[in-house]
């Protein structure tokens, strides 16, 4: 056991210290234990036991000099005990000894950081894509299943079952805890980045930050993005994703009016954009682009950059945005990209050209239920003076929207059509 300080701390400081360590080192400790045993659930259980032990021990004996090392030592012991109880037959004892040696070979004061390996295991192609982001959130950040379930709008019981199943798969199917081979790295990294982006987006979808759990999720997504970018500093897409998330986060405060109304990007108050975050995003993106390998996250972050030039010039760089969405459309087949490209074209070549581009998409059956398609279409029809068609498109968009603030905004736009009808014909 590591040396302990002689001060006698009451229960409150001990609980606080445990909380601080939990926050800072939870993922690192889980990753260390899991990477050596492939037993993610076992690592989490052992760590939970260690935290419980800390809450009993620390108030009586004082907070140890290195709380992380203390927790590590206890969790390791718990894990070995649990494994010993589970496997009593002779054939397993060799395995048990190996595991014990591996766990004990490490000096508690220099615990290696295996979080990236844990993330690669969670985002392995053999794991159901839908559970990768939740599992990363749980194992690296220590979120409980109920919190993750509410963030991903899944029932806690279902989320719990799926997490248990995925962890069991890691263990039983022999999913490795290591960096993928060079040939596989980029593809596997995509899955890790996609999981982080999914976590961020879940948080981002609560723009007002009214629901604390969700808001937290966006921050944690950025935290994970920073972690991966720092562990893989030579991977331009890891940097691209970080830049993208920072750009989005920078505008959080401008997305709603003080009264909670939805404010579209074009009408946002620039003084509410977070300048330090934007500058960091730009610096990260520049670093990525110097590596000379373009990818979807860098392109999406570059779109954000082109919007942000409005701070300097008063107008987004729509020519660049159109060009970037063309490049994105070549990489990913996404209706979101196609619609945004049409919106950019409407800015560079006029609303009729934008509408033509949207018309070319009507074969895509995904669009029938996709609100942004109908909202974009309605906006462009309004600008070309086709009021009735615009009203119909707004109705589709309103019917498909789940966020009340956005729904109100669309309804206002629709109502404004008739008010503008008189001059629409001439202004178009």
């Amino acid at each position: 056991m590591p040396p302990e300080t002689d001060q006698h701390a009451g229960p409150a400081p001990a609980a606080e210290a445990a909380e601080v360590v939990a926050r800072r080192s939870y993922g690192k400790l889980v990753a260390f234990l899991a990477a050596r045993t492939r037993d993610v659930a076992g690592a989490e259980d052992a760590l939970a036991d260690a935290f419980a032990a800390a809450l009993v021990d620390w108030p009586a004996n004082g907070i140890p000099a290195s709380p992380e090392a203390w927790l590590m030592a206890v969790a390791r012991r718990k894990m070995i005990d649990a494994a010993r109880r589970r496997r009593t037959d002779e054939s397993a004892s060799g395995h048990l000894q190996l595991m014990q040696e591996e766990l004990e070979a490490v000096n508690e004061t220099q615990i290696p950081d295996d979080r990236l390996l844990l993330m690669f295991a969670c985002a392995h192609p053999a794991i159901d894509p839908g559970i990768r982001a939740p599992m990363i959130l749980q194992t690296i950040l220590g979120f409980d299943a109920a919190t993750i379930a509410s963030a991903f709008l899944i029932s806690p019981a279902t989320m719990g079952q799926r997490l248990v199943r995925a962890k069991s798969k890691i263990r039983q199917a022999g999913i490795p805890f290591r960096l993928p081979e060079r040939a596989d790295l980029r593809g596997r990294l995509d899955a890790v980045l996609a999981a982080i982006y999914a976590a961020f987006s879940e948080g981002w979808s609560d723009p007002a930050g009214t629901e604390f759990r969700r808001r937290n999720l966006a921050e944690e997504g950025i935290w994970l993005g920073r972690l991966v970018a720092s562990l893989l500093p030579e991977e331009p897409e890891a940097l691209g994703l970080l830049a993208l998330m920072l750009h989005a986060e920078a505008r959080r405060g401008a997305r709603r009016s003080p009264r909670g109304e939805y404010v579209p990007l074009a009408e946002q108050d620039l003084s509410l954009w977070n300048t330090p975050l934007i500058e960091e995003a730009e610096a990260v993106l520049r670093r990525a682009s110097r590596m000379g390998v373009v990818g979807r996250y860098q392109l999406e972050a570059a779109v954000q950059s082109a919007h942000v030039v409005r701070r300097m010039t008063g107008r987004a760089d729509w020519a660049a945005i159109e060009h970037l969405y063309e490049a994105l459309a070549a990489i990913i087949d996404s209706p979101v990209v196609a619609i945004n490209r049409a919106i950019a074209i409407a800015e560079t070549r006029g609303p009729a050209a934008g509408l033509q581009t949207l018309d070319a998409l009507t074969d895509d059956t995904r669009l029938a239920e996709y609100q942004p398609y109908w909202a974009a279409r309605a906006g462009l029809l309004a600008r070309t003076g086709e009021i009735e068609a615009a009203e119909q498109a707004y109705d589709r968009a309103i019917g498909l929207e789940a966020d009340p603030a956005v729904r109100d905004f669309l309804q206002q736009r629709r109502a404004a059509l008739r008010g503008r009808a008189g001059d629409a014909g001439t202004s178009a």
Partner: protein
């Protein structure tokens, strides 16, 4: 860890294939098996005769029922297997991807229970 690579494919296509195609397939499997042996991962392997040569057995209420043919009609049938001993799933998956059957059928990769 030990993994079974279960090779599923449309056996009708194989049965109706030309002699030349079948010869090529057998040669490809031979090379694959040899590569596994050289790499020291091969435990066992085998090719199954078609499902029409199969017989299904079950015991219902103490009575043995024997039926001609496969247990269930499926689009793809189990046609053969490899058992490999490799360090982890990634290694098993990369062997599965090299299997000649992976390009016209499906390889199911299943870890064995550790007894």
């Amino acid at each position: 860890m030990k993994y079974m690579l279960l090779i599923y494919g449309n056996e009708a296509n194989v049965l109706s294939a030309s002699k030349e195609t079948v010869g090529q397939m057998i040669a490809a499997y031979g090379a694959y098996t040899e590569a596994m042996k050289k790499a020291g991962v091969h435990v066992d392997s085998g090719r199954l005769r078609p499902t029409s040569d199969g017989t299904t057995v079950r015991v219902v209420n103490g009575k043995t029922e024997v039926l001609d043919g496969p247990y269930a009609e499926t689009k793809e049938q189990l046609g053969g297997y490899y058992m490999v001993e490799v360090p982890d799933l990634d290694a098993a998956l990369s062997w599965a991807a090299r299997c000649p059957g992976a390009s016209h059928g499906t390889i199911e990769v299943r870890p064995l229970w550790v007894m």
